[in-house]
Structures are given as C-alpha cells and as structure tokens.
Subunit: 210 residues, 2 copies
DNA sequence: CGCTTATGGATACTGATACTATCCATCACA
DNA sequence: TGTGATGGATAGTATCAGTATCCATAAGCG
C-alpha cells in the first residue's frame, strides 16, 4: 500500500500523513527504494486512532504522540503504561485560586481518597486537576457542588468498574493496553455526551416553566 | 476599582483583561471620564469564571463568550439558556468513520434513547458526538466498549440526578442558571479527574503482574 | 503646580499549534 | 519514454490566545 492508497483508505490528506510521519506519530513505511515505501494495515489502524483522538477527543498532537509511545513500549509494566497515557492526558494546568480554597480542597480530596480506600501516588497529575477544580468551584461560590463529592466518586467507581470489565476480555496484553487507552479517552467523550443528553432531557421536564 | 486593582484581585494580567474586554467576555467598566473606568465585584467574579473555564476546563475563548452570553440572557426560558450553553460546548466535529459504522451507531443511540425514555431533540449537538464516538470505537475494533452503552447511560443518569440535586437549592433563577452551567462544565473536569484516579487505583491492583 | 504613574482605546506583534504547499530528484508503470 | 506518484526537506498559512506598544489623558503625590 502506498501513501496515496493509505490516504484514500483513511480519508486523511497525503500532506497530513506526511506531517504525522514527520512528527513521529506514524511509523515510517517500509522503504523498497529511496523514494518508495509501503504501508500496511497497521498504518491504517494507527491513523484512524490518531484521528479519533485528535478530532473526536480533541487531544493535541503532541499528547497523542506521548500516548502512542506509551502504547508502543510493551517492555514496561502495564500499569506504568497506563500511567504514562494518563500523564499525557492531564496537562499541567495551574489555575490560580486563593491559597485557602486550595488548602481546603486539598484536604477534602485527601479525605475522599482515604474514605474510598483508593491507592493513589501523590504525583498523580489528575490529583492536581481535581484539587484545582474543587477549589475553583468553591471560589466561584458553588460549594454545594463539591459537597456531592462522595456521591460523584461513587458513581465514578461504577464507571471504572465498567471500564475494567469491558476490557478484561481482550486476549493479548497489547490489545488490553490499547483498549484501556481508547476506553479511557473515547470513554470520556462518550460519558460527556451522554451526560449532556441526560441533562437536556431532565432539564426540559424540570424547568419547563422558568 | 480600577483595572490594575482588578488585575491584582484576580491575578490576571492587565493586557489580558483588556483582551477579554475587546472580545466582549467582560462587560466594560463604568466610565467616569474618557480614560477612567471603574470595575466592581461583578467583574472580579466574571473574570474568575472566565479563567476557570479557559484554564481548567480548556474551553476556547470564543465558546466562553457564547456561554456567558447565554447566562446573561435571562429573558429566555431556562431550558433554552442551558441548551445554548450546551451548544457552545459541543463543537461541530466531523465524521471520520465509515458510513456503515455510523449508521449502526445511529440506530444504537436511537434505541438507547427510547429504552431510557429520554426526550431529546434530534438537533442536539451532543447526539452527533455520541454517534461519532460509538462509530469510532467500532471502527477501532473496540465494539465491547459500546456494548456497555446501557450500563454507562445508567451511571450517567445517576450523575445527572446529582447535578440537578446539587443545583435546585439555588434561590434565584440567575443563580440556578449559573450553577447549572458551572456544574456542567467544571463537573466534567471533576468527573474526568475522578475517573483517572479511580482507574489508576484499580489498575495498580489489578495488573500488578502484567 | 508639576511630575510620575496608571488608564482606556486602538493597533500591531508574538508564539504555539496543526496543518498545507512547494520543490525536487527519483521511481513505477503504461 | 514519458507521465504521474512518491519520499524527504523546507517554507508558508490560518487560527488562537494572548502581549506589547502607542498615545492622549487623568490621578495621585510632593
């Protein structure tokens, strides 16, 4: 398969494919001569994955690269692989809330993790995001939202149970890792749109007259 | 309060505040003379909201503007206000999947909505995202993920229940609208980071040896 | 009153991101 | 043998989210 065919198969323009090759998102094709390479099903699949992540899940190209690299490194423990993908998904966003709000949020989260019995390493990037989010809610005068933290956490555990279940049937380790990553990322888009739909449905009934 | 003080109070640089003013994200201050305006607590609050949406929830400035506009239009029904905010949150993403996968996903979603008894208008933007996501999962060879659709939907309903509960205590309509919007958007960040943490915790235990 | 600093408003510039476009020396194939 | 595609390199573009600069004026100090 040559680049033109790859382009047709995935509906991605040739210059864009070249761009992904340059950026190292896509492995180079097998060179049969200095300007002739052939691509295969692996490339088609990878390209589709790249597009799903960038277009659907809005993941920046640089982070897609990190995610793919973590998928390709099957020499490290699975858990570490997942951790790397998580890290790529959580940009270091630092929102400036008041120190007090942050401190409060921090202890709220610590308490939550203890109550739930979660095992979290303190450097987990999602931890900082969670703390910032709760602090922001507080600062914006929505403390009632974070007071439902435990209930949310419980619902989230339910999700995660599903995430894991949906994935344990994968036969090989590589496929498992891939499913976890796809499930995590596209799952987020899935959950977000389901939530919007559910909200719309409920809000239509609930606030018809306001 | 002058612009310098506003800047200090929110930790947003003066040129950035001017940029938000230009873009219409922030209402102009009250002019006491051609080059002297005063800002108040409303501006502080609004600015904090803008920053939370852009920095934490990664919402593009143009969409923050639409969201704020929907919050400001208290002359339309609450449900319509929420709908506008939802629309601003769901960019029109293109479809990269095969027509067959899309058709399958479409009927899956239709069936889901019927089973759940949801009331959704066919133009709801989240609908297209949901369909595309399911089609993408299918195309990427992860049909097992979308087979859990109903279970996810149920968990999501649980969330939405919480979203609504957390918000009904708000006294005025304006506050209610604001809480719904903040709850929807920051809630998504909250859920996403909780999910990452729960996954990390579970995956550490589950796949220690792979 | 004068001097320094801040301000509102307009316009111009910047850096990052995600592509597109062009060029050229091959190369495959009709 | 010639026409079009290809790999690789380099350059250009559009958008986004600010930053920076300028200027005439106004505020606050001494």
């Amino acid at each position: 398969m040559r680049i033109g065919e790859l382009s047709k198969a995935t509906d991605v323009p040739v210059p864009t494919i070249k761009y992904y090759l340059r950026e190292g998102l896509l492995p180079a094709g097998e060179l049969s001569s200095p300007n002739q390479a052939s691509y295969d099903a692996v490339h088609v699949r990878r390209l589709r994955l790249i597009r799903a992540l960038t277009e659907l899940a809005q993941v920046p190209v640089a982070q897609v690269k990190e995610i793919l690299e973590s998928l390709d490194s099957d020499d490290i423990p699975l858990h570490e692989q997942i951790g790397r993908a998580h890290r790529a998904l959580t940009p270091t966003r630092r929102l400036t809330t008041t120190p007090e709000a942050r401190a409060t949020a921090e202890s709220q989260v610590a308490a939550l993790i203890t109550r739930r019995g979660w095992t979290i390493e303190p450097e987990a990037p999602a931890l900082a995001t969670l703390i910032d989010t709760i602090a922001a809610m507080e600062t914006l005068g929505q403390p009632h939202l974070s007071s439902y933290l435990d209930a949310y956490a419980e619902a989230v555990e339910h999700f995660t149970q599903l995430d894991i279940e949906a994935v344990t049937t994968r036969p090989t380790r590589d496929q498992l890792a891939e499913s976890v990553v796809i499930g995590t990322i596209l799952g987020e888009t899935l959950i977000a749109s389901l939530r919007l739909l559910a909200q719309e449905s409920i809000s239509a009934q609930r606030w018809k007259n306001r």
